[in-house]
Symmetry: none
Subunit: 171 residues, 2 copies
């Protein structure tokens, strides 16, 4: 058959990265095109519905072709019965992802949702999430400061990411 089919992807937005490096040439804010659609929901409402659990819920009845669909990460978790939170890699990864996405100080509802999600990969409480953001923010700042001492780093914010419009009123 045919072979072919070049799936060319539309939009290589990947390339837009280099632009962000202090060139600041092209900055495309992508203004909301007012298309007369009044129903423009601003992401202000958080609702994060129920996430399902990883293990206790095969999403499909038939075991089906369980190829590598569900390769779960090491369940090593065994939370050390210790006192303080011991984050797993998954948890850290997700938190960093959120941080890089622009989240700095999640509000209660966000924290609740994040906690719920992360709870699937290890024991965690809301305060852990809160503290993590507090600490991470502070330490990133420290790092920046220290690095700016050594090398004259470009003053512009080093976060090359587009702000994810995280509309947090309670910022």
């Amino acid at each position: 058959m045919g072979n072919m089919k070049m799936h060319q992807l539309a939009c290589g937005f990947w390339e837009q990265e280099p632009l962000l490096s202090l060139g600041c040439k092209r900055l495309r804010p992508l203004a909301p095109k007012l298309h007369s659609n009044s129903t423009y929901t601003t992401v202000s409402s958080f609702d994060l519905k129920s996430f399902i659990k990883p293990d206790s819920g095969p999403r499909k009845l038939g075991n089906g072709p369980s190829e590598d669909n569900n390769r779960h990460s090491p369940p090593v978790e065994t939370h050390p019965g210790g006192t303080r939170w011991n984050p797993t890699q998954e948890q850290i990864g997700i938190l960093e992802m959120l941080y890089r996405g622009g989240m700095r100080t999640p509000n209660a509802q966000q924290i609740e949702q994040i906690t719920e999600q992360l709870g699937k990969y290890g024991k965690i409480e809301g305060k852990n999430v809160f503290y993590w953001f507090q600490n991470h923010k502070a330490r990133e700042r420290q790092k920046q400061k220290r690095s700016s001492l050594g090398l004259t780093h470009c003053p512009r914010s080093s976060a090359p990411i587009t702000p994810i419009t995280l509309d947090t009123r309670s910022m």
Copy 2:
């Protein structure tokens, strides 16, 4: 100039043909070689390893008018492990969390991070994440529009009854 019909923006980034044997035919040249080479740091930072997906389906795209759309493809062609992304609930959960958090069109960097995370729960590629956001955004918008069109704020002024029409079938 050629035909402007093919104006698709293919940034064949996913394909990454250059390194491999080129099977691509249409693939818009794209390669704009912006500035010879020096400042051409494009995408180097992204490691697109699994972006190349061998084709395995007679996709006839285009508006092939001459032929009927064969809904049911013939099948003997079981492609071993290569069809479309089938997200797990964990993946969906995280994606929705990000969406609710305000993320609309993540950058390459963000997509990379997300993909990396989500890859722990199942096979996934960057483009899947990209598509998910595109589709989700579009369909949420559709839903909203449709819902606002359909029932225009049902006037319940004269209905003293309790709306117990709990029909949660829409999930």
